[in-house]
Amino acid sequence: MSNDNFPEDRDQSRDIEDLELEQPKRGMPISENTQLDESTDNPVRDVEGVSFDEASERDEELVDPDLARGRGEGVGEATTEAESQAKIVRRRFFHHLGAMVGVATFICVALISLLSMGLGPIRGLYHNQEPLALHDVENDGAPTMHLPSWLGGHGGGWFTFGKYPFGQDELGHDNFAQVMAGIQTSLLVMIVFGIVVAIIGIVIGSLAGFYRGWIDTILMRLTDAVITLPVLVIGAVLGKLLATLPVKYNWPDSVQTAITNLMPLELALALGLIYWPSLARLLRAEVLSLREREFVDSARVAGASNFRIITRHVLPNATGIIIVNVTLLMSLAVVLETALSYLQFGISAPNVSLGQLISQYQSAFSTRPWLFWWPGLFIVLLALSVNFIGDGLRDAFDPRTKRAPSKRAMDAAFRARDAKATVAATTSTGAAQ
């Protein structure tokens, strides 16, 4: 369990080389062809509950119990006009409670950090813009942020933030400024990492899957090699490399400072270079199945070049896999960066990392617990919210994870139908009399 904090995402399908899996492909690729199916009234699909679920999500009044029972006649009635795949995915994502909470948390954390510490040269709103500056220790460094008294705090009638909301350490560092700067570092690492992984993973994965042959062999061997060692271990080696090189070869001071100042960027690049194979491998498997489909053949008959086929026909159908996996990898990257910084193989001064703060203050836990609580809390919030977003995206893109309507909605629909039936019966008998 050397990957003690980074269990690879085990939901990802295992790619067993040389073993042939005679199993239907997971997930339904999204293509113009399948989209047509969804919009036309195809009884078989409707009996499976597909269009029924779609309808029920849109409007509960549309629930027709006969559909749920799979009677199969008159099933087209509940389906409405055609929707683009993107629209469906978007709607499902916005209806995913966990994902929405994740998005809200993520935006809140990012906004707090950006508003208080600014971005690059732009000043933030917080009074102390220098996370590493020393101030006089006030009130023994205790946090000045208090809950209002009606919530059990002692801050009077309203929230009070005070001068040092998250307290200070014994030297006088402002914890709030440090934590906020640390969040920015994490965000930066996460975004750069995501871009690097996506670019390398997409290019290599699609080329290997589409052209097969030697490029595929090289990719598979390369991923074998990279997957063999725990990421934390390779990350530590690369982190050490970045820290040692300038000193060892006595590079000029300006280069040395540039390298230390840009450490978050370099670490993100390094982590991206370690992590891309898992995305490339998954994408390769997807492209392998997509390239055999009819719409690729028809595109080729129509005279499309390989480049056009890959970019216009194959990749758009693999968007789901790419987005979901990059998101989930990004949440792992947050934790990995902080872990490396904790081990002192990552980000160090003048940059601030949440993991470095924890490693710095772990011994102060019994005397100044706030120094330890806040950085950890924000790592968890960031990693958790991105994870929830990834999970929501996965559900949104995967047509099989459809939520059945709740029992209450079903009961209500049945009751409504029965009531309608009785009304119809009484009126018809009334008319006969």
Binding site: E22, L229, L232, L241, T244, S366
Partner: protein, 510 residues
């Protein structure tokens, strides 16, 4: 098959060779064995630098050094850790055994609990229980292990203080009991009335047990006795009977009861054996005894099982193992008072640093095992929390996948009871994907847990790697990387083979 294996082995060796070359290059760039000399102010600085360059052959290019390293590796010489002068081959065995001790228990516990809860969570999909478990596993999955470990370390220190003079905090106990009640009610499920009964009884039992433990200071002098063994064994018997065999299967119940009686009959003879052999016992003998337990249980199930031997054997093995475990723990706990009273332990129940108390060598299996337990408690907890989360997520997904398949619908449609559908039809296939995960986890134990070992000061493989990387000892780091790399590849090969054996849809092509 043979050709398949041969090809895989050759590929493995090739990849390992390439990895070793690339990593050796990276490491010789990243390591600076001269860094402490550069800042040195001693007058013979230049000579010392020259001496070290000669010692480590730094004047040659790294490619030359790599090939000389490779030559030594191929002749079985792993090199030396130059700072301490110790050969790497001497450092590895103790580091490996420390890591395995730590990670083995954690992996087993997290796999058992995680898989169970994952299956139940999938069976109760979209229930409150499922939502809570999914949320909790998400949170645990996102937790940074180093943060959790430091928290645990601190709470361990506080707990030691508390356990010296425990006084039950009834409000906290009440909250714990309510959570336990909700957990069991959600897990077992059923009608509202049934859930209410389960909730109430779980609440009362948890509250009573915890209050008893704290009020009587049970932790300072823990006792299970034969009554405790009987109660827990009986619970295991009934639970496994209801789940694995079903209430109608009398033969399975009888077979399980016979196993339990055999276990209880051996209780007193085993006490004499345990005390008498305390100086020569070791973990291997205990493992052998466990194997004997399994064999006896299988035999009982085989002969008394009747028509449905498989179910009966499942019941007897569960009952037998749980009874044996309780007898073992009972005897272990009986030494606890003596252990705590020792001058070196000074009454600290939970240790926060290291894998054992330094210079504590009691020459007694039970005391040294207790010492190991108190040290392993917190780091294992940190590992279990994280490992548990990934097992839950994995197994929940696998079970849901199986439950949505046609043959399950068929099984339900032909009127089989839900228990049979789940245990006989779904569970078997839902557990199959674990074959690709468990070998990897088991074999990667040897690589250790880098962060957890660093924080708790366990000198296992993970800590060895980190310290050697800091001290620029390339031979140790390379040995670590080669061992973990090789083991990871073997683990993947085992996983593929196992999967091929279990899943008839997979062909292994030569």
């Amino acid at each position: 098959m043979l050709r398949f294996l041969l090809r895989r082995f050759l590929t493995m060796l090739g990849i390992l060779l390439v990895i070793s070359f690339v990593l050796y290059g990276l490491l010789s760039l990243a390591m600076d064995p001269l860094d402490n000399l550069r800042q040195s102010t001693s007058p013979n600085k230049e000579q010392m630098i020259a001496a070290r360059i000669r010692q480590l052959h730094l004047d040659e290019s790294w490619v030359t050094r790599y090939f000389s390293w490779l030559k030594h590796i191929l002749t079985g010489d792993l090199g030396t850790a130059w700072q301490s002068g110790q050969p790497v081959a001497k450092l590895l065995p103790s580091a490996i055994s420390t890591s395995v001790q730590l990670v083995a228990v954690a992996t087993i516990i997290s796999a058992l609990i995680g898989v169970t809860i994952g299956v139940v969570s999938a069976l109760r999909q979209y229930s409150a229980f499922d939502y809570v478990i999914t949320f909790v596993s998400f949170v645990l999955y996102a937790l940074p292990v180093f943060w959790v470990a430091v928290l645990l370390k601190q709470s361990g220190i506080n707990l030691n203080e508390y356990l010296r003079h425990p006084s039950p905090n009834y409000l906290l106990l009440g909250i714990v009991a309510v959570v336990a009640g909700l957990f069991w009610a959600g897990m077992i499920g059923g009608s509202l009335k049934r859930r209410a009964i389960i909730f109430a009884s779980a609440l009362v039992v948890t509250f009573g047990a915890l209050a008893y433990v704290l009020a009587t200071n049970w932790i300072a002098n823990p006792q299970i006795t034969i009554v405790g063994v009987l109660v827990v064994g009986l619970a295991a018997l009934l639970a496994s009977w209801v789940i694995l065999a079903g209430r109608k299967n009398r033969r399975a119940l009888i077979a399980g009861a016979v196993t339990l009686v055999i276990g209880l009959a051996l209780y007193f003879p085993l006490q004499f054996f345990f005390v008498g052999s305390r100086q020569m016992l070791n973990h291997w003998i205990i493992l052998a005894l466990m194997l004997v337990t399994v064999l006896v249980s299988v035999a009982v199930g085989w002969f008394l099982g009747g028509d449905d031997r498989g179910a009966a054997i499942g019941v007897t093995i569960t009952t037998g193992l749980v009874t044996a475990l309780m007898i073992y723990l009972d005897h272990l706990f009986s030494w606890f008072h003596e252990y705590l009273g020792d001058g070196q332990i000074r009454g600290r129940v939970i240790s926060t640093i290291g894998a054992q108390t330094p210079s504590y060598n009691p020459q007694n299996y039970w005391l040294s095992t207790l010492d190991m337990f108190t040290h392993a408690l917190l780091p294992s907890m940190a590992l279990v929390l994280i490992g548990f989360a990934s097992y839950v997520r994995y197994e929940r997904g696998a079970t849901l996948e199986v439950l949505s398949q046609d043959y399950i619908r068929t099984a339900r449609a032909k009127g089989l009871p839900e228990r049979t559908v789940v245990v006989r039809h779904a569970l078997r296939n839902a557990l199959m994907p674990l074959a690709s995960v468990i070998p990897v986890d088991v074999i990667s134990m040897i690589g250790g847990a880098v962060l957890t070992e660093t924080i708790f000061g366990w000198s296992g493989m993970g800590l060895l790697f980190i310290t050697s990387l800091r001290q620029s000892e390339i031979d140790v780091v390379m040995a670590y990387l080669m061992i973990t790399g090789l083991l990871a590849m073997i683990a993947n090969l085992v996983a593929d083979l196992l999967y091929g054996l279990l899943d008839p849809r997979i062909r292994i092509d030569g």
